[in-house]
């Protein structure tokens, strides 16, 4: 069965600290991998996708096929990064969202 696990419901860090939001997936096939973010009172929106190999707002995500993980990282967290983050592999056009990790960046 296809499954996405985000083990931390809440991650709290201080401003300027590194942050890593974990995502593990269990899939048959080779899914495309996305991270979506929802800031307070805003819509769910794409943060980044693996296929683009890009860094958005200082975040990067590394795919580890051996560990089937797609962790999201940022070296220096900012207060404006506080939000809900969802890992979302997709296969045949179907996004499967994890439960989400709430990131809280304290001043």
């Amino acid at each position: 069965a296809q499954r996405v696990t985000q083990p931390e419901k809440l991650l709290s860090v201080f401003k300027g600290a590194p942050v890593e939001l974990k995502c593990n997936y269990s899939y048959s096939g080779s899914p495309e991998l996305f991270w979506y973010v929802q800031y307070s009172r805003q819509r769910l929106q794409l943060l980044l996708r693996h296929i683009s190999r890009e860094s958005i707002k200082g975040f990067t995500a590394d795919l580890n096929k051996g560990e089937t993980s797609f962790h999201l990282k940022k070296p220096f967290a900012q207060e404006e990064d506080s939000a809900m983050y969802y890992c979302a592999p997709t296969l045949r056009g179907k996004l499967i969202f994890g439960q989400g990790t709430e990131l809280s960046v304290k001043p």
């Binding site: 969802y86 179907k94 969202f97 439960q99």
Partner: protein
């Protein structure tokens, strides 16, 4: 561009009543999605349309839920009759439809069933 439009934003009904949600996707987006998001969970796909065709409705509880996208543009999701457990946020999203395309989400409709 207003993005994906959903209405109503909030709905409170009593159990056993019917309810309908409306979604207008971004212009030019062929693919439309309805998701259910329970409190503390990620969104779960209910149904995906490519133009007028429902290409994935495997997660739609068909005994009480129905959806339509008659002209391949806007869409309606209906619940009849609503149950207490249907209280959740119903999200609509749209995309051009290719697997790697970004899905753009609406603001959602928060349903409370009393």
């Amino acid at each position: 561009e207003a993005g994906v439009v959903q209405s109503p934003r909030y709905k409170i009904i009593e159990k056993k009543q019917p309810v309908a949600f409306w979604c207008n996707p971004i212009s030019g987006h062929n693919t439309l999605y309805w998701y259910l998001q329970n409190l503390g969970q990620g969104p779960e796909l209910l149904i995906r349309y490519e133009n007028e065709e429902a290409v994935d409705d495997s997660q739609l509880p068909k005994d009480r839920f129905s959806a339509e996208r008659l002209k391949g543009v806007d869409s309606t999701l209906k619940i009849q009759p609503a149950e207490l457990g249907d209280s959740a946020v119903y999200l609509c999203a749209s995309s051009f439809g290719r697997e790697t395309d970004t899905q753009y989400f609406g603001p959602g409709t928060r349903l409370t069933v009393l």
